[in-house]
Every structure is written in structure tokens, then in C-alpha cells.
Symmetry: D3
Subunit: 157 residues, 6 copies
Amino acid sequence: MLYAGTFDPITNGHLDIIKRGAKRCDQLIVGVLNNSAKRPFYTAEERAEMIALATDELDNVVIDTFEGLLADYVKANDVDVVIRGLRASMDFEYELVMAQMNARLYGDCVETIFLMTDPANSFVSSSIVKEVFGFGGDVSGLVPPRVLDYMQKRQQD
Amino acid sequence: MLYAGTFDPITNGHLDIIKRGAKRCDQLIVGVLNNSAKRPFYTAEERAEMIALATDELDNVVIDTFEGLLADYVKANDVDVVIRGLRASMDFEYELVMAQMNARLYGDCVETIFLMTDPANSFVSSSIVKEVFGFGGDVSGLVPPRVLDYMQKRQQD
Amino acid sequence: MLYAGTFDPITNGHLDIIKRGAKRCDQLIVGVLNNSAKRPFYTAEERAEMIALATDELDNVVIDTFEGLLADYVKANDVDVVIRGLRASMDFEYELVMAQMNARLYGDCVETIFLMTDPANSFVSSSIVKEVFGFGGDVSGLVPPRVLDYMQKRQQD
Amino acid sequence: MLYAGTFDPITNGHLDIIKRGAKRCDQLIVGVLNNSAKRPFYTAEERAEMIALATDELDNVVIDTFEGLLADYVKANDVDVVIRGLRASMDFEYELVMAQMNARLYGDCVETIFLMTDPANSFVSSSIVKEVFGFGGDVSGLVPPRVLDYMQKRQQD
Amino acid sequence: MLYAGTFDPITNGHLDIIKRGAKRCDQLIVGVLNNSAKRPFYTAEERAEMIALATDELDNVVIDTFEGLLADYVKANDVDVVIRGLRASMDFEYELVMAQMNARLYGDCVETIFLMTDPANSFVSSSIVKEVFGFGGDVSGLVPPRVLDYMQKRQQD
Amino acid sequence: MLYAGTFDPITNGHLDIIKRGAKRCDQLIVGVLNNSAKRPFYTAEERAEMIALATDELDNVVIDTFEGLLADYVKANDVDVVIRGLRASMDFEYELVMAQMNARLYGDCVETIFLMTDPANSFVSSSIVKEVFGFGGDVSGLVPPRVLDYMQKRQQD
């Protein structure tokens, strides 16, 4: 099972999906998209490090980075299920389009499944975390504690 | 894995979800909700018969009927995953609310996962099938052929 | 060109679509759906009379009533274009499904086209008109003046 | 300030809006709509009693029942602000239409203001509470404790 | 009461919200966000000047500019109510997320309230005004007359 | 009749709208917006060439490029109907706003009409085509065959 994204940085919403996915499969790959065109704030390595800190206690989670099309990564790694989180209608429209496109590219061998986010995390996104954190606002409760530590140290460098 | 609904009648959209779900689990229960308050057109038995006709070739699909809360059925049968189909934003809002409610009622032991419908089936629903069929319109291509036969025979009774 | 609906009663929103449609075709049929299952407040004849009052000055508008499937009416009358109004996202989802269903039933010979309602009428619907009018509220400005007269006379009978 | 609705029964989502509204005004009227056409499960008196139990500690909340148009109640009671809760996009579309209609009926003297529900209550509605409770499911946490007691006693009668 | 935004430039939709808000409070602060990352077309000073021209006749409106998080401005200025306008479902999703985030950052002391825009202004936004104006199109009726004068003079400089 | 857009590149979704529009009018102008601010991947000339390849067999389609406001092009060319495709709710919200803005700019002489996309093309957009194609993914079936040839040759230059 694969959970792919930019994770810039990983939030409590992402972590909830990771935990719920990992519970239902043998191994969950968290795939960090290394897409410089998206101009992420943290490098792919930093993002992977933060995910590692957040998922430390989950034995069947492995972290990987990839470039290019998700469909190519999926084929190269024999992924059979891709997992996605859904927060709101606007997520839905985008995810529907991506799922239908990916169904074309993957063929029948891969299924995309969606989990609804916990209502408590429904307003949390990486971009809002970065915006609030960037202006010195409090994002504890939105990201895992060890990720917050990482972000604070990184800010002081 | 459980796929529950009214299935009044089963459509090609439902069948697509059943096939994709059955592929990813040991056994898929198709649970037919026997809710007289919803005033279904076909009885729960008829609806189960049509599902049986449509899923004849799928070895790991079993069909059951139930009353009352989905959460109670889920607990009584040790279901660990409930599967749902998503067609459009309006589905999404309703499904989000139900998933969040069910997460409260189920606890952590059960996960609801969602599959996006194939775009070719995105406009198909049991109610539109019944309306068109009721006025003598052509619903072949919207329901499985053996279900259409069943509906036509039933209409002549 | 056909503009079909329940028109229970015709509103200023409907009239705006009728005027805009009639301007772009040789003849616009306003088709009043006679569907007793929907339990309209006014009879199909009353609804047709109100449309006649509202469209009195439009030379190329004819009014008809029909039962059953729109697709059957369309075929029987050689309609080539069906026109619909869109007010909000919720309209859109429903209309998308109906348009895709009708494209199956009509085949290529008929096209459904949509007009966006004027923002001033975006909140007007037959059901809100009936609710407000039923409690004695002011609906002038929501329905054509001659339709309001008709509703008031009908109420006193 | 007025908060009107059916409250069949009052939920924690309603109570959150009541508390937040009461904090920002001198007096908050909770107006219980007595609309037999909507076939509420509890009578208007029962619904008012449950609200009274839930708002016992809020000094500036008064409870009233009314029939007919909200706009008429608003005028008769010199209400200057009507408060509404918003949970999801589907709420939004409906509320937008009602607010625009009411702006017509009220004139300038009354303003409708909206509060977004707390994410923890975003999936709670009276209808889902009734459905789950009716089948013996657990609705504690969805309604105030004293309302749950009331519902349980009422059920045993 | 605070109404914050980019106002690049102020539109008739904004002005409608300002007027309705100012009517319901002692003092309405219009807070102009000075966020260079958003690359506004007009400087914060120009935007404040245009708001001043548009709100000249409203006695209890004051104009301020701020940088950084809204939550910090709100705390520093003892704001108790933040007001927002809602136009369409897409606004809604975004506003819901921001309101839930801000509820976390503000705590209980601040409430965000929403007003639905007048249907006549539902399609008006600063970005569409800038696009149409930039190509020489007519935006009278979308912005206050004195703001249009300002924009035209500014264009000739 | 005018169908305007960026067409960067033309997709099967666009071509479906072109075919359906061309069937209902004497002449369909496909207007290619030459807007450098949008940073299209292909030049306006390349985009027009691809449309010419895709519409080769449609006798009443002419291709043109334009800059600036659609409303100005519409007036200068005596266009009476502008045609648009609708795929999903998010399209709808944007298109509603543009249609209402354009109704202001055009006046009564021009009508915007909308066609719902074929469900099979509902997930196809120029941007997803470019993203998948750019990473070497398979976009046959998403764009017309001769357009795919063009894109492949262009890539090798």
C-alpha cells in the first residue's frame, strides 16, 4: 500500500491517514514526491526525515522519495493499493479527477482508496501550517510534536 | 469487507464497486438494507436475488440482508472494512458525515474506505434506473443484463 | 427548442430563461410535466395557464403538457435542443446527471444546453415561492405580476 | 438576536451556536419552529423543554415557539440579527438561498449572520441523531447529557 | 469589529459587507493586509486610500493596515468579532478552513461571523475587476464610483 | 457561435464540445486566447495548428486567435452565442461568475450557453495532459491522435 504526497511538512491529518492505512496492510510506503516545480519549503530529504520522526513507532511504514509520475512509481514497485485522504468537497473534485486519470494509467492492477479525515483534522493542511508557522503562530496540535521540534530547529539554522 | 446499501436495484455502478472490492479482500459481504421506511420498490429478497444474478461469477462475494444500524451489523459480524462508492460532490458531503458518524459508533476496529466510480457510471443511480424503467425507457447498459431480465419479468407479473 | 419543467408555479427565474431561449430559436416549446407523483400544488392546466399569462408577449413560445419521460416527448416532437437553467452547485450536480442520462436516451440528435440564471433570480425557486406565499408573505418580484394575480385569485376560491 | 430552527432534538452542534451567539448579544431568543408539515418526531413543547434543559446555565437565552414565516416572527419581535450555523457546502447552498430570500422579506432592518460549526460537531444533525437513537445506537456526545436523559425517558413512555 | 482582506481594489461586494457590518457595531476596523507575497497590484497605501474614498460617509469605519497573522492583529487590538463575506461554495470551503484554524489561534475571545453577499454582487471579485479593467473593460457598477476615478487616474500616471 | 479558450493543448473533451456546437450552428469560431500572462506551454500558433489538425473534417469550424477581453472579441465579430463546456462543480462556480460578468459586459446581444461534458471525458484537462505527457506518460485517448503526433514531434525538436 502506498500513501504519496508532498508532505511539506507532514501534518496530524497525514499522520492519521498513515496510522489508519498501516493498520490495514502488511507494509505502507509513504512516498515523498520530489517535485521542484512545486517549490516545496523543505527539501525532499527534510520532509522524509520529519515523516520518519512522526512514524517512528509504526513498524510497517517505510519512507521513500520519488520523482515523475505516480503511475510509474506504482508500476515499478508493484503497488496494488494507493491510499488518499479526503477533507472537503474541493479535495473531492480534484481527487476524483486524479483517480480517474490514474485508473487509465495504472490499468486494473492498482486501486485508489480514500479515507475521510477525522473531523478534528479537517482544517489542517501543510500550506496553512507553513503560513501560520512562518508568521510565528502556534501550530502545536496541527503537526506531531517531534515534527514541530524539527521545524523550530530548522528555522533557527 | 462489507459493501452495504439498498440496491433497489443493483446497478452497473454498484457492480463495478463490488468487483473492485472483491479483488482486494478474502470475502466481500454485500449487505442489503431491509429498511421499510425507505419504501424500496423491490423487496429485500428480490434485491438480494438480483445481486446474486449479477455477482454469479464472483467466488468470494456473499449476500446478506440486515435491519437497523450498519454499526450494529458491523460489530455482530466482525467486519473490519466497510467499502463505499463516491460519484459526485453531493455524494461526498453525505458520505463524509456518515463516515464521521460511523467512526464514532464503530470505534477504531472498523475503517470506511471509498472508491471513486468509473466515469462511465457516474450518472447511474438506482432511482434514475427506476424512473426511466418505470416509464418504459431503455436502461440496458445501466444495470447488468441478468438484472434487466429480472426487472422485466417482475414487471409482467 | 424545448424548455421542460414542473413550473409549480412559473417564477421570474423561469421567465428569464424562456425569454433568452426564445430569442435564439424559431420556436420555444414550454413543456409542463404532468407528474402526479410529484404532488404539484397547481394542476398542469393551471400551471400552463400561468405560463401563458407570463409569456403573452412572446410570439414564438408555445405551451404544451406531457407525461412520462422527457426523452419520449423529445423524440415524438423532433426536438433538437433542450434548454435548462442553472442556479447553483446543487442544481449543477443534478443537472449533470440528468444530462448524461438523457444523452444516453436521446442519442446524438438532441443536445441539452444550459443557461446560467441572472444573479438577481439566483435564489428564486417554485418551492420557496409556494412556501412564502402560503404563509401570506410577499412574493411580488419573484413571479410575474399576472402570475401573482392568478395565484391570489386561486387562493380565494 | 434570534436563532430559529426545528431542533428535533437540539444537538451539541446547536448548543455550540447558542453559546457563541449568547456571548455576543444582550438576549438570544431560541425560536422553535412549530411546523406540522415537517412531521417532527418531538412536539414543539418537547423540543422547547429539551432546549431549556440544555441552556439552563445561560442567563440571557429565552425560548419561544412560532408558526409561519420566520420573516413575520422577526418583524413582530423587532429582531435585528438572525444567527445561523453552517456545517458543509450543502448547508451553504441552502442557507445562501434562504438568506437572500429573507433579505428581500426583512428589508434592511434585519441581518442574517452565520457561524461555522466547530469541526468536532460538523457531522452532527438532528436527523442522524434520531436515526441512530431510534435503532438503539449511542448518541451520547452528540446531544447534551440532559437531552439524552429526556430522550431516553420519553422513549420508555 | 474587524473586516480584514487584501482589497486590491475594494469592490461593491466589499462595500456592501462594510456597510452591513458597520450598522451592527460601534466601530468597524477595515484591516488592509500588507502581504507582498501575494503581489497585490496596488500598494497597501493605495488600497487604504480607495477604501477611505468608498467609506467616506460611514462615521464608525476606521482603516488600518497590518502584516503577518490576522490572529496576532486581532489579539493586539482586542478585536472581539471578525466579519467575512461569503459568495459561493468555493468561498465557503476556504472560509470554513480559515475559521476553524482561527478558532484555534484566537481562542474563545474572538468570533468569526459571515454575511452572505447580495446576489447582485455575487460575481464581483477584486481579481475579475483587475482583469477586466486591465484590458480596458467597463467596471463601473462593480466598484464604487470614487474608486473607479482613482483607478483611472492611477492608470494614467 | 464562438468557443474560446487557451487550448494548451486541445483535448478530446474540447473536441467533443466543438463537434456538438458545430452541429447546432452555421459557423463555429474556435477562438484561441493569446495570453502570455498565463504562460502557455505551446504558442498560440501551435495551439491553433493542433486545433486545425483535430477539426480537419468539420467544415463549419474556423480557427482564430485573439488577445484581451473575450467581450471585446465578441463585439468586434458580432458573435451572438458563446459556448462553454462544464465538467464538475468547480468548473461550475468559476463559469457562473464569468457568465454573470460577461452578461454585464456583453449586454443582451450575446448569450453564453453551456454543454455538459461526456462522462468519459470528465477527468480530462489540458493541464493533466501536459503533466502526464511531460513525464512520459500515455495520453493517447485523452487528445486526438493527430494532436498526439504533433506533441511528440514538437517534443523531439
